[in-house]
């Protein structure tokens, strides 16, 4: 008989039979009180504790089941982890496991340099590859997730129509299970999936458009007119340029720079970030209310005219035939990693947005009214009121999402399986494969890996809390 079977049988006997007798001896129940009787029977240990130790014993009895489960299934494993990491062999019985000391850690650290996992032995290679992939993933994904969640929360927090609907829509993917998410995105990102099909169709349509005679001219003029309207709107306000229009203007500028590729003149092609940097810089200058904002906008306008003149539309619209790739399998492209970050943000953003939304709604309205009285610009209000007051919530979100993204397993395992090669191999998958999906399970190795991972998570958490503490002191 297994221990669990024994425990269950004993508990059933004690609880069911003993409890029933005990209760029936003390209280009388009418036929209508049968549900009441079963309810009392359910709480029999609590009743017993009260009659033996008085009211003082009740809280302990109430806490007992919760604490038993925490003790056996959370605290005991934490301690056991250390023990298992010092033992070897594939035995499942804890007492049959031979003590090997630091050997399992030694295997992981058996490298010339842990920063180049290729110089390690096999376990070390797998572990450190997973570790650095995970760190890289967290470093990229957490800031993106936090920024997108914050922007979404700010937008949803505005006075817009159908707030509940938008909020619910952004939250919906959080409810979906990882398997469903993986199947959905696998279907979209497949080589012949919806994404490739729509990119191909868009390219064909663009190529077709570009082939029309006079299209270059029309497109240039259209773009010039749009630029004219937007820059006029930006410069219109009495008290400095408008930040929102400056944002649109910045986006157009980024697009234009991306098309014109001015750096290719000096032999530096492929710098798509330059446009983004210019656009963001323009937005920042205007929204933070710099005194030279108007001049900067005018300068950007002149730059736009120059770029428009410089653009050779023929070369811009010469789209070649689109070759569909399988986004999740093609190696050495970085796409599998990109899509993992994307899918992870897609599925978790709504949750962090809700937390941030709660933080935003806790900010008192009168602060904004006071700012409005003083004719504060929206960006300044955001920077001076919203951001400092939402900072505690943002820190919670940062810590939560960091710990969460460090433990990423489901999405990766189901979408890419760690591939192509080891490009998206994460540390939890390493633990899982070493211990559970291996013909020769090495529990010691996996336990040592999880302890090292716990150390990293702990360091991150404390570092972040420390930074927050410093901030709140200032």
């Amino acid at each position: 008989m297994t221990p669990a079977g024994f425990v269950v049988a004993f508990a059933a006997l004690f609880w069911g039979l003993g409890g029933a007798i005990w209760l029936l001896k003390r209280r009388s129940y009418t036929l209508r009180q049968v549900p009441q009787f079963f309810m009392d029977l359910l709480g029999f240990p609590v009743e017993l504790a009260q009659s033996v130790w008085g009211r003082g014993g009740v809280p302990y009895a109430l806490l007992l089941p919760n604490m038993l489960i925490f003790g056996f299934f959370t605290f005991l494993p934490v301690i056991l982890n250390f023990y298992v990491s010092f033992t070897g062999g594939a035995s499942i019985s804890l007492f049959d496991r031979p003590w090997v000391g630091w050997e399992k850690y030694g295997e992981i650290f058996n490298c010339e340099s842990i920063f180049t996992p290729k110089t390690c032995t096999n376990p070390g290679y797998n572990f450190w590859t997973g570790m650095f992939n995970t760190l890289w993933f967290a470093a990229i994904q957490v800031p993106i997730l936090c920024v997108v969640a914050l922007i979404t929360a700010l937008v949803v927090n505005q006075n817009i129509k159908g707030r509940g609907f938008w909020r619910a829509m952004f939250f919906y993917p959080v409810m979906l299970s990882p398997v469903v998410i993986a199947n959905i995105w696998n279907w979209v990102l497949h080589r012949k999936g919806a994404l490739n099909a729509s990119i191909g169709e868009a390219r064909e349509a663009m190529t077709g458009l570009a082939g029309l005679s006079g299209f270059d001219m029309v497109a240039t003029v259209l773009f010039a007119v749009i630029l004219l309207i937007v820059s006029e709107r930006t410069l219109r306000g009495n008290d400095g340029p408008s930040a929102s229009w400056a944002g649109v203007f910045g986006a157009l500028l980024a697009l234009l720079v991306y098309w014109a590729q001015p750096l290719s003149l000096i032999g530096m092609g492929g710098f798509g970030w330059l446009g983004l940097a210019l656009g963001a810089g323009l937005y920042w200058v205007v929204s933070s209310g710099q005194s030279a904002a108007r001049l900067v906008v005018i300068g950007a306008g002149i730059l736009c005219v120059a770029l428009l003149l410089a653009i050779q539309f023929d070369s811009v619209f010469s789209f070649g035939r689109y070759r569909p790739i399988n986004w999740l399998v093609t190696p050495n492209t970085g796409w599998p990693f990109f899509w993992l970050v994307f899918v992870f943000c897609w599925s978790h953003m709504g949750f962090y947005m809700l937390i941030l939304l709660a933080g935003l709604q806790a900010i008192p309205r009168d602060l904004y009214e006071a700012a409005k009285m003083d004719a504060t610009k929206p960006f300044r209000a955001f920077y001076r009121i919203t951001l400092p007051l939402v900072m505690p919530t943002l820190t919670v979100v940062l810590v939560l999402s960091l710990i969460r993204s460090f433990q990423i397993f489901d999405e990766v395992y189901l979408l890419t399986g760690g591939g192509p090669g080891r490009e998206t191999f994460m540390v939890v998958q390493n633990i899982y494969e070493v211990a559970f999906s291996n013909d020769h399970p090495d529990y010691g190795q996996a336990a040592a890996g999880s302890i090292l991972m716990a150390v990293v998570i702990a360091v991150f958490t404390f570092f972040q809390l420390w930074i927050t503490r410093r901030q709140s002191d200032l």
Binding site: Y60, N81, P173, P178, A194, A358
Partner: protein, 359 residues
């Protein structure tokens, strides 16, 4: 007055009139794009799942579920029907009498014997709009050799785990929360700190040793091995405790005056009064349990009879890389319950998570 202002103005003078500014436009554009990014993949999966297998296999990107008509040809058997467009623009219904080549042998449906050659490019499938219910019904009813997906077993296991685990979680978390919120006793702080500490222990770093513990309890490989270890949740305890602190102590004192036992106070006063918090925790627990993946994967993977819906779906998708139409249909089936729960209860869920701030 610009057109936009004219169209969107409301009653009132110029100062208070609501104008549709660029901020609003940007906000709505952002929301619209975001919702499209979220909804399009889900809807695309749904629309693909009701297409026939040939349409799914050939990655038909049309939205409507078009499928080629198959018809019984006398003396030949069932054949796919094609539309032959002759050079003068007239169309005829034909079937392919031989392999597809540059010049393909076809014959009219009405006259199956007269085979003639037509260019391949002049043939197009004869289609009708049809919802491919077989994608759903085959795996569920085990037709057409689809007996790998034990749908009702998986559904039963998933529902069992979800319901039982949620009930246990609600009961023991409410008991612990009651103790921590309504009693003064030695060690209350210690217990509180212990429960906070469990928040800081990520589940994935204790996988290996939790496996050993569950194994030695003899519940490895059974559904109880999934239900019990995560039954006590620190989130739940804190959520309920915060709520129970708002219940006035006078109610408890009054009940004690009437000689109610502590358990009856818990059951008759505390539980009914904290129903809002309990329902939030219930919803959260249902989501956690229904979507749980890694731990069931470790505990239940060896025996297909204990698989939950999520595991069954993973195994199913792993077995056939080609039968996308079944995988998509079963994905939609797995997605539907949680979507319905969400549509009905989204107000509870969103406010519940916003107040606990934890998941």
């Amino acid at each position: 007055m610009s057109v936009a202002t004219f169209l969107t103005r409301t009653k009132g003078n110029k100062d208070t009139a609501e104008t549709f500014s660029i901020q609003d436009f940007l906000a709505y554009a952002y929301l619209l794009v975001g919702v499209l990014v979220i909804l399009v993949p889900v809807l695309w999966t749904f629309f693909s799942s009701i297409k026939s297998d040939t349409a799914v296999e050939s990655f038909d990107t049309r939205l409507a579920p078009m499928s080629q008509i198959s018809q019984e040809i006398t003396g030949v058997g069932p054949k796919d029907i094609w539309v032959y467009t002759a050079e003068d623009g007239s169309t005829q219904l034909v079937y392919k009498a031989g392999p597809t080549r540059k010049l393909t042998d076809v014959a009219l449906v009405d006259q199956p014997d007269e085979v003639f050659k037509v260019p391949r490019k002049s043939l197009s499938p004869h289609e009708e709009m049809r919802v491919a219910t077989e994608n759903y019904l085959d795996p569920i009813l085990k037709r057409n050799g689809q007996d790998n997906f034990q749908f009702f077993t998986y559904l039963y296991n998933s529902v069992f785990v979800t319901v039982v685990a949620t009930l246990i979680t609600l009961l023991i978390n409410a008991m612990a929360a009651f103790a921590l919120s309504k009693y003064r006793f030695k060690g209350r702080l210690t217990f509180t700190i212990l429960i906070v500490a469990t928040l800081l222990i990520p589940s994935s770093i204790i996988l290996v040793s939790l496996f050993f513990v569950v194994w030695s309890f003899g519940i490895f490989g059974s559904l109880w091995g999934v239900i019990i270890p995560a039954a006590a949740t620190p989130t739940g305890v804190f959520l309920l405790r915060q709520y129970m602190l708002t219940i006035p102590d006078e109610l408890l004192e009054a009940a004690r005056m009437d000689a109610a036992s502590e358990w009856r106070i818990f059951w008759r006063i505390i539980i009914p009064l904290s129903l809002p918090a309990l329902s939030v925790l219930a919803i959260l627990s249902v989501i956690w349990r229904w979507n749980d993946f890694l731990w069931p994967l470790i505990v239940l993977i060896s025996d297909p009879a204990t698989h939950t819906l999520q595991l069954g779906l993973t195994q199913f998708a792993g077995e056939f890389d080609t039968n996308f139409h079944y995988i998509l249909a079963m994905t939609v089936v797995t997605l539907i319950p949680i979507t319905l729960v969400f549509v009905w209860l989204q107000r509870f869920i969103t406010t519940g998570i916003a107040t606990t701030g934890l998941k």
